[in-house]
């Protein structure tokens, strides 16, 4: 994966109002988290930064998640850990970055790139993708842009599992079940499947929770039979 540079500046003001002002000025609040190992427990240092909204959008649009973040005279290698967007998913509101060590493997999620047309799809089946990103562990320099998945040999009712994927050298699965389903080719939908809607009958009413059903209510309301003497 290529490393891109993101130029930032430290921001002194915190809080939602300050962030709003920042966004109106064409910048995005960025938090850079760095874990420091001392004598005691690991400390997490947070650098509050601001970056140009245009630069951040450009980086995210090209799936560049490995960044060299320049801030306050220093540079750190970082990955994008979380991106907050607005309700429509257009504008980026906030980005969380995590500083990484180039010499240690990191956990990362990589896109799966599906290549070729499955044999089953050519004969009328439907490709059902169950997994689009794969959790891997690798050195930052060995993280691929995407992991290629060849579909050519998949026939109808055949499955491809995580364990069957070919991973690039230096990349291993991280917290992924090897039996997890990646993709399968389903038979073409039948007319009945296409026509099937909800299994509700016309004019029916849903059951009201806590309310006795009509026959139970009627039974409760009916006078009790006289006791035998």
């Amino acid at each position: 994966m290529k490393t891109k540079t993101l130029t930032t500046r430290p921001r002194a003001e915190r809080g939602s109002r300050a962030c709003l002002k920042l966004r109106r000025g064409g910048e995005i609040p960025v938090n850079l988290y760095k874990a420091t190992q001392g004598d005691g427990p690991t400390q997490l240092v947070n650098h509050a930064l601001a970056a140009s909204a245009y630069d951040v959008m450009q980086l995210l649009a090209h799936h560049d998640a490995l960044l060299e973040v320049a801030f306050g005279g220093g540079k750190e290698l970082a990955v994008v850990r979380e991106v907050q967007r607005d309700a429509f998913g257009d504008d980026v509101l906030h980005v969380d970055l995590q500083v990484i060590d180039a010499t240690k493997p990191i956990a990362f999620e990589v896109e799966l790139a599906f290549k070729g047309e499955a044999k089953g799809v050519r004969s009328g089946g439907r490709l059902m993708v169950q997994k689009r990103r794969l959790a891997i562990r690798a050195l930052p320099s060995a993280i691929p842009e995407s992991i290629e998945v060849r579909l050519d040999d998949l026939d109808i009712d055949q499955y491809l599992h995580v364990g069957e994927l070919t991973l690039p050298a230096g990349v291993e699965l991280d917290d992924e079940d090897p039996k997890g389903l990646v993709v399968h080719v389903a038979p073409a939908a039948t007319e009945a499947e296409l026509a099937a809607g909800a299994a509700a009958s016309e004019g029916a009413e849903p059951e009201v929770i806590g309310k006795p059903k009509e026959d139970e209510a009627a039974a409760a309301a009916a006078p009790a039979p006289p006791a035998k003497k």
Binding site: A65, A87, F88, R132, L194, E207, I209, G210
Partner: protein, 138 residues
């Protein structure tokens, strides 16, 4: 058949008002392409079903359609020529409350052009302004 809940806590609910934006259900999750609401409003179960049939007929068995909305809200009405008063009307139909940003339908397994044409047909059925949204990685 139109969608409706199986069990509800109350037969009738107040109309309420749809405020704010969709902060959940506003991303394409299951498919590759989605159709996103740009306005707030109600979409009745009949409309959800009509849009589903339209999309499935256009896709003709290719790909897969996901419905991302469900009519949870019962809406009541009074019969014609009835005097005011005497309580709330009877449940007439079910509707989904939609906030701007909500993804309504998704399609997987077809090229973008096909999905866009299917969604154009779906959009004709819907009472809200909508737009096409692709799946986003981040």
């Amino acid at each position: 058949m139109a969608l409706m809940p199986k069990r509800v806590k109350h037969r009738k609910v107040m109309r309420g008002s749809v405020r704010g934006f969709a902060h959940r259900g506003n991303r394409v999750v299951f498919g590759d392409h989605g159709i996103q609401a740009l306005e707030a409003g109600w979409i009745s179960a009949q409309v959800i079903e009509a849009a589903r049939i339209t999309a499935n007929r256009f896709l003709g068995g290719e790909g897969r359609l996901y419905i991302r909305l469900f009519p949870h809200k019962p809406l009541t009405s009074k019969p014609l020529e009835v005097r005011m008063g005497t309580g709330k009307g009877e449940p007439e139909y079910w509707a989904a409350e939609i906030r701007p940003g909500q993804v309504l339908y998704e399609i997987a397994g077809v090229p973008e052009e096909v999905a866009k044409r299917a969604f154009a047909r779906v959009a004709h059925k819907l009472p809200l302004k909508v737009r096409y949204v692709p799946r986003r990685t981040q």
